[in-house]
């Protein structure tokens, strides 16, 4: 049973308060997803807002075949990919500028921020398809079936991508693995 179902039905009927509640429930997850998927490029909060704007516009077409959360992730992945493609075209047009350097470890950071940045850096080193799959599983908490639905690929492909992503991440996260 989709915990968002009642709110989705109300929002699809035009209830903005119900939609606000859906935004509040999923805003943090969407910002995290946008930040990780863009790999430091772009503005994650701006992208997350765009995800909800698109969701509002397409809510009437949501048939409830999957959970709202799964559908929202699919919308988010499309928004990030569209933004990626646009930025790629702009970079080619105005000569490629390198992505912003992640902050070095020398800067004074609080522990939580340092940990988040270390994980984001490791994820940014993965190929796109592996990064998306492992992010949806280990950061966003989607199950394999939900990920398969969000990415429109077979469950076996999802399993393989997540397995390979974790293998590649192990040496990149060596500093954090001991801490658990």
């Amino acid at each position: 049973m989709d915990p968002d179902r009642a709110l989705v039905e109300a929002a699809a009927g035009g209830d903005r308060d119900a939609f606000d509640e859906l935004v509040r429930r999923h805003q943090a997850a969407m910002i995290t997803l946008a930040r990780v998927l863009t790999g430091g490029r772009g503005d994650p909060e701006d992208l997350a807002q765009e995800v909800f704007v698109r969701a509002w516009r397409s809510l009437r077409t949501f048939r409830g075949d999957s959970a709202f959360r799964t559908w929202l992730h699919r919308v988010a992945i499309n928004v990030v990919r569209t933004s990626h493609a646009k930025q790629g075209r702009l970079r080619r047009l105005f000569h490629d500028e390198p992505p912003p350097d992640p902050p070095s470890g020398e800067e004074p950071l609080d522990a939580a921020l340092a940990r988040r940045q270390a994980i984001d850096r490791a994820l940014a080193a993965l190929p796109d398809d592996l990064r998306v799959a492992v992010t949806l599983r280990d950061l966003q908490g989607l199950d394999y079936k939900e990920i398969a639905a969000a990415l429109d690929v077979p469950v076996g492909t999802v399993e393989s991508r997540i397995f390979r992503a974790r293998q590649k991440l192990k040496p990149l996260l060596a500093g954090l693995l001991g801490e658990g």
Partner: protein
Amino acid sequence: MQDEDQRLVARVLASRPPDAVRADFVARVNARIDATEGAGWFALADFRTWTLRLAPIAGALVLVGLLWTPASPTTESPATASPAQPSQAQAFTPASASDWQRDVTANALLEAAFDRMGDSGAR
């Protein structure tokens, strides 16, 4: 061992501290929705939107107009007309008709040519 590694990595990833969310995030989303919905209705009345959207169609029509010229005998210039064909102003004679018959024999053709030369000499 491999399973253990997988679990370890998954645990580290799951421990990523969540991103901070601005207090006005919901308000910003609402403002964007209002802006796009408002723009949708106003766009219908905005002549700039219409002219921009119609530009490709107008361009295509201009292109078709430039490329397509109706083939009418009144507009055909003498320079473009086939020089091999007898002009319409020229009088029709059995001799000139025989020039365009495929099955005409060489002798008949010569005869017709001489006849025509004789006609023009007589005029």
